[in-house]
Every structure is written in structure tokens, then in C-alpha cells.
Symmetry: C2
Subunit: 333 residues, 2 copies
């Protein structure tokens, strides 16, 4: 009988899910809103509605199959505990709520979903780790024992694989490479500190760079016609395609910050390859060329010209669902 | 029959070795000079003399035993290849040598020693990795799956363990944490770049700090009576014990540089504990207190007050021999 896994990708806006086989083929998919359930007390309704939607999808298939497990990628998800722990953008306190004890915001999603599916195995980890395992199971990291995945979205996520295994760390939260400090006292980061890598290298980071450069450079640029609130990183990529000097400098600077940070982390885990994934990675040579250049320029001699910088092999609209389902396939091996 | 492993610690000056059981008890030990064999063409004589000395030691035991393997800690040793690869301070070219192709400086020490011992298993890795495995087998990291070892000697070595396994990396040279850049354009490092952590945090690093502080501070200090060439880091420790303000500032600054770098690397591997090992670690609270303070001050919230900073449990004169022998015991498990 065909074996399938469910992959679930929980974002702040939507929760997307699908049924995937071991080769990464998608047999069904659907989506519900996450944003419709903003408060802590909405969590129960969210789980109920998600499980209903999952069952509807599961029953829609016209052939017999075995459901081997459910993999979930979600912010602040901990593979060790099965909890989503104090997520910044999910199921928050009401503004008027008095008991704002953050320990109330531990959501046992793995257990709750497993109950609805006769105790099937449910694994949960953060979205960057899920993408990393997706790269290993379906993507360009097949057969690699030591690699790094960098996911460039609103923030910068990462996953590290050593000896063929995901590094989750003692508490399950390893791989927060977006929060190494690259400029002491630098840009304010959403984490409450200053100078974190993701404040420079991410969709929001490069947007901040664009505005900083509009202040320091005098070149003409169509980027100057767009207000901050309407601006997005795809505009910088489009402008760079047309040779816009500010857009090109944006990418050079972003690649410098990323390349330096990668040169440092290579000394720790010595990966075979580093994969770039996500929106900013789609800028292609604009981001790959300066990142490669500055990574090699800053690399310790022992690692020079050894580490491949590659595009992810699981780009595309279903990458996050594939990544989440890969949590299950990886455990089957 | 008693099972024993041989542990060999190769330093630039001496090569020390001993016979160790699985509990870390030492049954015999000896030493030969490394410095006596400075040139590439001396390597063969070095191996012959080392093997002779090993056999003499092995035959000195008055009871029957089984030799299960030989573990070696040496600079630039690669566990994957069994080679010592282009070591900076061992078996160098003659000054007048014309063919200085560095690929001639790959020394198959594991194979050469195994041949002399009827093909017994010989494992080789760098000294910091050997100390890390020693900590796991005999020391304070027993039972830990995720930890970091920092060895503070002339330089700064490190070993990272994740999921219970040493991170060797794709090329065998992972764990060069001493060469992350902590100050861009900073102090010259032996690796040819500038601003590496070990130029600040190591026996030589803190000595450099002492001289920088004698230039910037006006306080009286007995450290001012010692010329650079005669100075060592133990003097700074002794002066700090007496309340010397320059010595105290030396440790505060060293702890700040180390604590910041540790806060960054915790985001990547999320260890249960970080161990400090070696000469500078013996300064006790002088180094532990500021390192702990600045590590926590710079730590991302998700990891705050979670990671233990601990002294190594395998300090002492035979630590390096124990660490090397632990390579064998770890593989027996």
C-alpha cells in the first residue's frame, strides 16, 4: 500500500498542509487561516479546525494508503517536547489580559494532533529545521552528512546538519544563526538585542539597507519613489536587474555581511555545502556572487575554496510542506 | 584480560604517551622529544623512535593485557584521512629547500604506527578534539549529548559535540572556534588574518592584552617590571590574586571577548554546557566570572540562563594522554 505523510507549515498568516510520498510527490493540499485565531484562548478552536481540515484532505484521496506520520514546521516548535513554546506571533495574550505568564503559552500541538489521528506519530520543529530536513530528503543535500541551510525570509533561519543528523541542541532550539551578532551596537533586532545577522540579511534586513543607502548615496534610483511602508525586497532585486546602483550596493553589502558570518561558522562545523533558500535567495547571482566572494575573502586558510555555496533544491511554493513531511521520512530510514 | 589503550599527545616540543584503561587509570607513561625531529625528512626517524619507545613502554607492564587501540592527539590531525596535514610546527621544509609544495607535508602517522603494532586500530585527531572526547569519556561531560569544549593553551582550541557525536565536519577540521573573527581588522593572528578570537583569548592573547593595557592605563603594576619576552599568562593570574588593577582588567577584557563569542556560538549548537580547559582555565574565578557575565549579557533570550559554564573534569598533567586514549574507548561503545 502507498505510504504517505502529512506535512504542515504553520505561518503567522496561513497554515498550509499536504500529503506527500517519500519521493516528494504531493497528492493533496489545502490551507486554513492562522491569523483567524490570534489569541491564547483561540488555540483550541485552531486545533479543532486544523484537524477537521486535515481529515477532509485525508479522506479526499481516491486510493488506499497508509498514513505513516505527520510532520509540522512552526515558529518556536521544539522537537524534544512536541510543544510550540512562547511563539512571538501566534496565540498571544489579550491586550487587557492580567496574568501574562509566558509559561501559559506552551502549546502541545504534536500531542493534540496525534490524538485526532489515532495516535499516529507527529513530529514538530521550527520551519528552518523542517526546510533543512527537506533539503536532505528531497533536495540538493541528498547524501551529504555535513551541511548548513540558510532560509532567507522575513527573518534569517538556519539548520545545521553534522554526521548526517540535525543539530537540535540540548533544548531543541539550536540553529538560531540569524541571531549571531555581526555588528556590536548595530541595528535593532526583533529579539530585543542589537546587531543580529538577520537585521542585515533577510527580506527586512535588505530593505533597511536600501533606506540606509538612500541616505548615504546620492545616485538616482527608482527605489526613491517608494515609501518605506510599501517597499519590499523584490523591488531591490528588480532594480538590481536594471543596474540600479543603490540596489546593486544593497546586494553587495548584504553579501558581505552574510559571507563574513558564514566564514565564521564554517570554522565551527566545517560543512560540505551551504544552501540558500527563500525569497532573497531567488535574487540569484545578485546575492550568491557577493556572498561567495566575501565568504572566501574572510575564510580561514584551512577551509578556503572547499565549501560549496548552492541554491536550495526544494524551492517552490510547496517547499515548506515538503520540508515538514520530510521530518517523517527521515525517521523512517 | 585487562583491556588497555595507548594515548599519544604530540606537541611541538614533546610527544607524551601512556597506557590507559577504560576508567582513565594510567598504567605506564613515557615521553620522547618532538623538537629533535624538526624537518620533513626527519619524520621517518621520528616514527621509528616513537614506535620503539611505545613498544618499550608496552613491554614494561608486568601483567597480561589486550591492546585495543592507539589514539593520537596532534596538531592538524585528520580523523577521516589518518594524516597529519601540513602542520604549522612539525616536520617543516629546510630553509634552503626548493620544492616547498605543501602537499609533500601530509604525514600518514595512523598507518605508520598501526603497521608497527600488527595492524591495531589507530585513530588520530587534533588535540582539542581529543580533549573533548576525553571530557565525554572520563570527565564532566559524561552522559551529555550536546556540549562544547574550549581549550585555552598557547592558542584557543575547541571541540563541539552534538547528538552525542563529535562534529568533525566534512573535511575533518571542524571546531576551529579560535578563528572566528571577533574584531574586524583587529590583532594579527598566526593564521594570517586579523581579529581572531585566539588572538584575544589564550595564553598569548591575554599577554597581548596585558601589554595593550600597560599602554592605556596609568595604574602601578608589578607586571610593568617584566619584559615582553619573559612574560607569561601565569604572572597575570598571580597579579590578579593580589588585586593588581591591570591584571584584573586583563581578565575582565578576556572574559568579555570570550563571553561574547560563546553567546554567538550557543545560538548555533545550543549546548547543555561549555567546558573551559587548559592553563588559562586554571585562573578560576578570574576567567570564569567575567566570561559567564558577558556570555549571559550577550545571550539571545531563548538561551539565557540555560547553558552551564564549567571547568573541565580532566585537568592535570595527563589530560592530553587520557584524551587521546579516549578516542579508542569512545569507539568501543
Amino acid at each position: 500500500m502507498k505510504k504517505l505523510a502529512i506535512g504542515i507549515d504553520i505561518g503567522g498568516i496561513n497554515t498550509a498542509f499536504g500529503m506527500v510520498d517519500e519521493q516528494g510527490e504531493l497528492y493533496a493540499e489545502s490551507v486554513i487561516s492562522t491569523r483567524k485565531y490570534p489569541l491564547l484562548e483561540d488555540y483550541t478552536a485552531y486545533v479543532a479546525d486544523l484537524c477537521n481540515a486535515l481529515h477532509t484532505m485525508a479522506e479526499s484521496l481516491s486510493f488506499e494508503y497508509e498514513l505513516v506520520g505527520i510532520g509540522i514546521g512552526a515558529p518556536n516548535a521544539n522537537i524534544h517536547s512536541g510543544l510550540i513554546e512562547k511563539p512571538a506571533n501566534l496565540w498571544k495574550f489579550r491586550p487587557d489580559e492580567e496574568n501574562r505568564d509566558e509559561n501559559r503559552r506552551l502549546f502541545p500541538l504534536a500531542t493534540d494532533i496525534s490524538k485526532s489521528f489515532n495516535g499516529v506519530k507527529v513530529l514538530i520543529t521550527n520551519d528552518a529545521n523542517a526546510a533543512t530536513i527537506g533539503e536532505m530528503v528531497y533536495g540538493n543535500a541528498k547524501g551529504m552528512k555535513d551541511f548548513v541551510m540558510i532560509t532567507l525570509g522575513t527573518g534569517l533561519g538556519s539548520g545545521f546538519v553534522a554526521n548526517g543528523e540535525m543539530i537540535y541542541g540540548h533544548d531543541g532550539f539550536a540553529g538560531e544563526f540569524g541571531h549571531v551578532i555581526v555588528e556590536r551596537g548595530g541595528r535593532e533586532c526583533g529579539c530585543g538585542r542589537k546587531g543580529c545577522l538577520e537585521a542585515y540579511v533577510s527580506a527586512t534586513g535588505i530593505k533597511r539597507t536600501a533606506f540606509a543607502l538612500m541616505a548615504t548615496m546620492n545616485h538616482k534610483s527608482k527605489l526613491r519613489d517608494v515609501p518605506f511602508a510599501d517597499f519590499d525586497s523584490a523591488m531591490i532585486s528588480a532594480a538590481a536587474d536594471e543596474g540600479d546602483p543603490i540596489a546593486k550596493e544593497c546586494f553587495r553589502y548584504t553579501g558581505e555581511m552574510l559571507g563574513r558570518a558564514l566564514a565564521d561558522v564554517v570554522t565551527v562545523t566545517s560543512p560540505e555545502a551551504i544552501f540558500l533558500f527563500g525569497g532573497l535567495a531567488k535574487a540569484g547571482k545578485h546575492i550568491f556572487e557577493p556572498t561567495q566572494h566575501y565568504m572566501e575573502e574572510n575564510m580561514m586558510y584551512a577551509f578556503k575554496n572547499k565549501v560549496k555555496l548552492l541554491p536550495s533544491g526544494i524551492q517552490g511554493k510547496n517547499a515548506a510542506i515538503l520540508g515538514a513531511s520530510a521530518l517523517i521520512w527521515q525517521q523512517q530510514k
